[in-house]
Symmetry: C2
Subunit: 382 residues, 2 copies
């Protein structure tokens, strides 16, 4: 029995949504239900995906399920920081495949505007090991900056190559009405921007955002009644790594992504060459370059070259993040994975508009939690 995604939805991502978390989630849910032959009552279960402590509501799963009319159906919170909604998809797949449920809604959200930027940083810091790493102060940019330095050192990757990831992102952001930053940037602008954590500069870093995403999964049988264009979940991979970067064997790649990718390719019976379009977790420009390598889109160390040669643009070897990615869309933690999957589902349904990849049949989503703490890869097929 196949498990499919029948509907996807997303709010615009922005700096200050001005609504409550329940309203934010409702908007994504409504967007996902659009055009589907489905009512909330028919949804068997929901999974709410979010990282705690950015807003004040504790245990938001029940609150959101209630507001969306998904009550008394079961619900709970799934969390793996920035990859929470990919985790949600994995659980939803299992719920359906195991026969426990037929139709499951996965709703990811984050409202980061309720607290100050300093508070956001403090909470992010406590995502690292609070006994052995957090006290020394490394934040997310520092973790990825270390990866960038190691990558430059070992492979000769350049700051220009990093900047080119953002140039691509900016170009495609203009075509994504739900992106937070819709603006093309030049290589020069990127290179001259202020340093955040050397060698990462402002345009190498994604930004906190408010937003929600929603995916509706259904068994193949139920999917037929709900939509004409279901997309199959054919590969799922997930892995973890040490909580602190100090525990890693090397910093030039993310082992959790390599492991998750292997699992997903094996389950889908495909190789990296079969992927027509991909979304990767570009929380920082270096993360996209490492993703190219960790997913086998190129050999280790050749990620910088891949973007330099524009091979990840539409028309290149493998189009990546052609919705603008996290760098332009913004990164509302719990909602991000769902937004990535939405982009791929729209591609495979042929509904991606001006960014449509001709004949896209197989799509891949790579979603990371923390500095390579949790890796999730999902492969979808038309």
């Amino acid at each position: 029995m196949k498990v499919t995604i029948v509907g996807v939805g997303q709010t615009p991502f922005n700096r200050n949504c001005g609504v409550s978390i329940r309203e934010l989630c409702f908007e994504a849910f409504k967007d996902a239900l659009e055009d589907l032959n489905l009512t909330p009552k028919e949804i068997d279960a929901s999974i709410i995906c979010s990282a705690p402590e950015y807003d004040r509501q504790r245990s938001p799963a029940g609150l959101i399920a209630e507001y969306l009319g998904l009550n008394p159906q079961p619900t709970f919170l799934a969390e793996s920081i920035c990859s929470s909604s990919s985790t949600g998809v994995k659980v939803a797949y299992s719920f359906i495949k195991s026969g426990l449920h037929d139709i499951v809604a996965v709703i990811g959200f984050q409202k980061m505007s309720e607290i100050s930027s300093a508070e956001v940083q403090e909470r992010m810091g406590r995502g690292a090991d609070i006994q052995w790493e957090s006290p020394f102060g490394p934040m997310m940019p520092a973790g990825y900056a270390m990866c960038a330095r190691a990558h430059m050192q070992k492979y000769g990757t350049t700051e220009e190559q990093l900047a080119k990831v953002k140039v691509k992102s900016g170009k495609y952001s203009l075509l994504n009405p739900k992106a937070m930053y819709r603006r093309a940037v030049t290589l020069e602008e990127c290179l001259k921007a202020r340093v955040i954590a050397s060698p990462l500069k402002m345009f190498d870093c994604c930004a906190n955002a408010d937003g929600a995403s929603c995916m509706i999964l259904a068994s193949e049988e139920k999917a037929r009644k709900i939509t004409d264009t279901p997309v199959s979940v054919v590969g799922i991979g997930a892995a973890s790594d040490t909580q602190s970067t100090t525990g890693r064997a090397n910093l030039t790649g993310l082992n959790c992504a390599i492991e998750a990718g292997k699992q997903a390719y094996k389950m889908a019976h495909i190789t990296p060459k079969d992927v027509d379009v991909a979304e990767v977790h570009d929380c920082f420009s270096i993360a996209e370059i490492m993703a190219y390598e960790n997913l086998g889109f190129c050999k280790p160390g050749k990620g910088g070259k891949l973007i330099e040669e524009s091979q990840t643009y539409i028309g290149g070897r493998i189009p990546v993040n052609i919705d603008g990615g996290l760098l332009s869309k913004g990164h509302p933690i719990g909602a991000t994975g769902g937004s990535q999957i939405r982009t791929i589902v729209l591609q495979l349904q042929g509904r991606a508009g001006k960014t449509q990849v001709d004949g896209a049949e197989v799509g891949l989503v790579h979603n990371i939690g923390g500095v390579g703490l949790y890796g999730n890869v999902t492969i979808l097929k038309r």
Copy 2:
């Protein structure tokens, strides 16, 4: 293909464990692995169950998986407040049944001693709807006190009957070396204790605690190599209700428990009469009485009479909470469901010592999150 529980473990529950969350979880994990033919490397995935904000570590799943040697296997945090580890079991069941994983560890923990009692109350308050209920101040005892009042009003339930739940709990607590309060209490003591939220007095309320629990689930096939006494998961039910008590149709029972029970009985193809031994979520004495009714151990309104007639003692119609229950064991939120399941697994394996129910073949676990916000029922069979 059957899904089984092959191992269960638990730390002692107490007021101030004095160790870090990783050490707490390690102790429960080690206890679960005891006597099993299994190494951490063979465990495919872990699910960490805990309610955030009681300790400072954010996204503890990766940290705990790492410390337990469950890395690079996937992990994530599952949360439904006090029923988090029952949710974890549901997900683990799905992971195995769907074929994604073969052996899954579910680790529940809570370390509530890192913050003050007032801070614990504040966080519990934010588990209710923070826009529409929390601001008016109702805490957990108040929610269940309203249930008790409604139950007394509608069914004539008495304070003596409530107290008798604790008298039973105290009696069995003496036989549970891992319980926080190992002390028999008299009916008089209960009735004279200070009022917490009328009609609930001190002994009607469970207490915050530190603790961890662990369950190892495996497919039937893998189970054979791991242990001679696997216990099958034959029924799973889960449901939700409104985040706030103000949204409920009535307060004399918990609809989420009724719904979850129905699902679990149906899946297990049994009726309440077939249950030989049960663990119910007695966070407050009234909760146990409502559970009797919501699970069909007696008719609605007859729960007070059931305890009055000692029918839930060993030798009665259906022995309930004969490990002391939350009232005596203490309630380390994320660990509680796992502790309940541990008790039932030991019963079905014939390893329950002085509290062994002769010939116990079918056991039930009822685990609630919030004031009836999340209901989880798990049915196990020898």
